[in-house]
Symmetry: C2
Subunit: 170 residues, 2 copies
């Protein structure tokens, strides 16, 4: 068994700042995303919102379009319909959504938020606004605009635009 001549274990080193241009973008993007999500999760917990991320995302979909079905949610989120069924049942059990017969298709039900569900959404949106405000506190309005424009250009280039599921994934 070789015994390398090392002094002391150290924390993994960050990427060198002189790395080539294509490399040096994904690192800041990843760091920003990680910071945003961590902070968001922190405040969601601090706010006492007792929902796992997937439930939040499904509730968002329901609040955004109170006439969607399990199928549209599953398709939109690219998740298995079995999982969506289960999450929807959890949300119903928590009295955050209700199911209403779909007059256009007797196999499916339209999903609607309850008042409690809407209230949770309001609180989540407030949390997200606070994190975003904190994130942009050092930026001018022009800089925020620039960032958004650049983001959109890059998203377009990747060709995977998605409707928003603002809570992110982690």
């Amino acid at each position: 068994m070789p015994r390398p001549t090392v002094s002391q274990p150290t924390v993994p080193q960050p990427q060198k700042p002189g790395a080539s241009l294509p490399q040096s973008l994904s690192d800041p993007l990843h760091r920003l995303t990680h910071a945003y999500k961590s902070r968001l999760r922190e405040l969601i917990v601090a706010e006492g919102i007792p929902l796992p991320i997937t439930q939040i995302r499904v509730l968002k979909g329901v609040c955004r379009n109170p006439s969607c079905t399990a199928h549209t949610i599953a398709t939109h989120m690219r998740r298995d319909k079995a999982q969506i069924t289960r999450v929807l049942n959890e949300l119903m059990h928590a009295e955050l959504i209700i199911k209403v017969d779909n007059p256009g298709d007797r196999r499916s039900q339209l999903l609607q938020p309850t008042d409690a569900g809407r209230e949770i959404m309001r609180r989540l949106q407030a949390v997200e606004a606070r994190v975003t405000a904190q994130m942009t506190q050092q930026l001018s309005a022009e800089e925020v605009s620039m960032f958004i424009q650049l983001s959109r250009k890059m998203t377009d280039s990747l060709g995977h635009a998605q409707p928003s599921t603002q809570s992110g994934e982690s």
Copy 2:
């Protein structure tokens, strides 16, 4: 049971473009992140790299600092040491890393990539470079720089800077 007067279920609507300024940043950021990760995962699969995301991240940590220990990896990744032990065992079983006695502390072992492990890393880095190049194809060098600067400012404001784990989380 109320019967809402709805015509046809529709795909959930995207956030209105006129939303307030703090709101309108997280959506593009989320979209970009989602697009980046999706494309990355696509190419990793297409490249035939058979590793789940957590293994990739741990392998990265090991390649970045070939004298780190399970503890440093777990701390750095903010993961449970039990999980790290298991992932390290998987990577060893796949012959992508080896454990070497740590002369400074007999309770731990230094982690090193094998040649095969390094080769996987090279391929991963190539994939990431390709995705980044695609993502930035519409941007000038100044715009890329601007994006990086703005990202860093925002990350600083959130106060959760992290060493890079470039493969992202999904």
